[in-house]
Subunit: 116 residues, 2 copies
DNA sequence: ATAATATATCAGTGAGTAATGATATGGATC
DNA sequence: GATCCATATCATTACTCACTGATATATTAT
């Protein structure tokens, strides 16, 4: 069975699509990857280096992000260079940080459960 | 052990905080609730009616959203009225819809796995 | 061709999480 | 104070997901 699955199925309603998109962002590994790609396009091994994630792990997350259209890829010699597919992604991440400024205490403070 | 847990623990880095916030949004039930509250404050039983979710389910999600500071509540007689805590939440949801316009095909199309 | 590097895929595992049904609490009215 | 309605909590169950380690594919260079 497949692995990294935080995007993608055939949910139809607008709300389900939104939930799927949010889930694409709702993982520290994927956020780290997107963060890195917001600065500049990178090849997989470069992402591995700067995120300190394992190579298969990065590859799996990239596949998910690629399928969902959040990143795009171009072959460059024997490298494959990934980049964010739209500047709106960077904008969205900024908006989230703005919202975080407003609710950060709550997010930080509450511990309904033990964590990620 | 606690139940609805998509927010909240003591992750410290900026990325972990962002992931937590995104996870708060990454669920169709919570999105439906937030969507309803974007229009007007509502009591729990009203949310139950318009989202068609079960009452305990709504209550659990509201607790999570409340702890994370995404919604706020006011007692009103024997009702408890919930509202979104910041207009930025509505703005964020709009931004996501804009991004969805750009990547919707990808989100819809790919089916790495089954179900929501 | 062979070796070396870059990337992708596979199988298995363990943990986290959402939903349900039953039950408890708390405020208001009679 | 007993009853009714609104809301919250509990325990259980089933499902989804992320990570690891091993392996496969692809491209370049020798």
């Amino acid at each position: 069975m497949d692995q990294i699955v935080a995007c993608c199925n055939s949910g139809t309603t607008a709300i389900e699509r939104r939930a799927k998109l949010f889930r694409g962002f709702a993982d520290p590994s994927r956020l780290a990857i997107l963060d890195a790609l917001c600065d500049a396009p990178l090849a997989v091994h470069e992402i591995v280096t700067c995120t300190k994630l394992s190579q298969p792990n990065v590859s799996n997350h990239l596949r998910c992000l690629l399928d969902c259209g959040l990143v795009a890829s171009d072959r460059d010699g024997r490298f494959i260079r990934y980049r964010i597919s739209s500047p709106r992604i960077k904008a969205l991440l900024n908006d989230v940080d703005t919202l975080l400024d407003a609710v950060a205490e709550g997010i930080e403070a509450c511990d309904n459960y033990r964590g990620t």
